[in-house]
Symmetry: C2
């Protein structure tokens, strides 16, 4: 049982709900203890109105509860993992630009709480709750000190220290903006040489388009068109890799190189037990990519006879919702 998990009469453990709010989907799960009882997923409404997103969240909560066969009175609380800047105490999300209607401030926690009759609702950063999920239920279970690195559109992270999420002043874990190369590639944050500039999907796509303009060949955009996608998704990279696409290999080699540097530096500073790679790219690229990172990380490790365990996620794209449900059970 994780620290802070509500104890009680055995078998009478109450249910917690977890919501992973993303720009394309809303994933909700119901947990009893560490066990997932039910889940529901809907596309994130693209209307541009925050109320529609909140309605959709409530919809997944009711669907999940119906599957479990219980009503809100059986629920201990709701956790929500959200992108953007999070005011944990106030339950407010700001600048979650990927979620329609969330570019300004949204009182997400209070609004969901009110709609559920005053239920306890707790919100935190989407990546941090995903890392919490992997730590309590997934790949990170055996480790007290763990860094989770989520490779998606950007690169986020979360730190588990002495078994607990470490928030710092509220923004700990931003490994995506660790500098891997002084004056290196331009990052989405406006700075140069950040890890995210090499290993974030948005910047990788930008790089791909640049190299194609310079005449390099690739199947990446062909696959993208075939699949009627507007962006190079993690799945597209995996397919291109199966075609032996050289540009894809090069982009992933750059990402692995940058990750190896950032992770080795984090390891030298923190002496972690484990590092878990997750997010869309981490989940999809799996062990082969982990191996590539581990190999390049080794030469930079100070305690090179005692490297950390490096793993990919076990819960895949459910880690965020599971972690959010676990968050709901933690003391405020």
């Amino acid at each position: 049982m994780p620290p802070g998990y509500p104890s009680g009469v055995a078998g009478a453990q109450r249910i917690t709900l977890g919501v992973d709010l993303g720009g394309t989907k809303i994933q909700t799960v119901a947990l009893r203890g560490l066990q997932t009882l039910a889940s529901a997923r809907v596309p994130t409404p693209q209307s541009g109105v925050a109320d529609d997103v909140i309605e959709a969240i409530l919809g997944t909560i009711h669907t999940t509860l119906a599957q479990v066969g219980c009503d809100a009175s059986a629920v201990e609380g709701v956790g929500i993992g959200s992108p953007g800047e999070i005011d944990i105490a106030a339950g407010v999300v700001t600048q979650a630009a990927n979620v329609p209607g969330f570019s300004a401030s949204v009182r997400l926690g209070p609004l969901v709480s009110e709609a559920l009759g005053g239920m306890k609702v707790r919100i935190d950063n989407d990546v941090r709750v995903g890392v919490l999920g992997e730590h309590r239920v997934g790949a990170g279970r055996p480790y007290a000190n763990m860094l989770g690195v989520w490779l998606g559109t950007g690169v986020g992270g979360g730190l588990i220290l002495d078994g607990e999420l470490h928030d710092g002043r509220g923004a700990a874990g931003e490994i995506g903006h660790v500098v891997v190369k002084p004056n290196g590639r331009k990052c989405g944050c406006g700075r140069r040489g950040c890890l995210e500039a090499y290993a974030g999907r948005a910047r990788m796509e930008r790089r791909a388009r640049k190299l194609v303009k310079r005449g390099q060949d690739t199947v990446l955009f062909e696959i993208m068109r075939e699949e009627s996608k507007e962006r190079l998704t993690s799945g597209i990279y995996v397919k291109a890799l199966k075609h032996g696409d050289e540009l894809t290999k090069q982009l992933l080699a750059d990402a692995a190189w940058a990750l190896a540097l950032a992770l080795a530096s984090a390891q030298n500073l923190l002496d972690l037990d484990a590092i878990v790679l997750g997010g869309g790219m981490g989940d999809k690229l799996g062990q082969a990519f982990v191996d590539q990172v581990v190999k390049q990380m080794a030469p930079h490790l100070f305690a090179d006879d005692h490297p950390p365990v490096v793993l990919h996620t076990e819960l895949g794209d459910l880690s965020g919702a599971v972690g959010a449900a676990l968050l709901a059970a933690e003391p405020m």
Copy 2:
């Protein structure tokens, strides 16, 4: 009162002793609570025999107790900060190459304990105890999350997270071996581009000698000869700087540049309250150097509207001995 500090009848707090073992000096202090009662310092014996070093440690302990006017029965315990690899549980120091007689393994804790009639003796890494001292009594007092970076022959560090020293698996804090420039300058550890390769005194001296060979002018080695030193000490850099020495300015600018990158990356990952610069160079260069680092760090901070406080040490070269005495009071 720091966590873990032994409580008791007010005014009847017992005394703890702290020893800072270095390659050139042994510094010992006696503390009651957070107050320094007495101190003693001797040069580290250069005979090459570990027993002589241990005798000298015991000598400073007895001198300190005599100053306080009490005997060993009034002492709660002894803490020792030592260079080298530390087995905290066994009290064993390995490969403290700078301390004569300590290049192999020395049962430092048990040997000192036996000589003091079985007194509780606790050892830890010299930099980490220095950081603990600055956190509990020095510049880091107001901050729960703090990184101490000690600039000496090498660059060491220690992390205070949620108010406690964070050891990881025993080697946390090695910020000196964070990579600031891929394939950059050669470091003493054999790798390339580590922070220590730019900001550690040994590598700075190597760089100075190289630039002098290439024909660059400097007063550094002139001051070194005048002071009958064999190495470029922190004090020599300070004097050369007062002469407006260009080579010194350049070396310190390189060190500040590398520190700025490493500290910004650590900040982005950890979202710290404060960073404290210590060690010989940190103590001697003081606020002007801190300002130089802060200025160059700012552009790399992800949460740039919320930078950490950056400070130099308050206890100077006493931080190690004070921290060791505080360590002696912590629960095992």
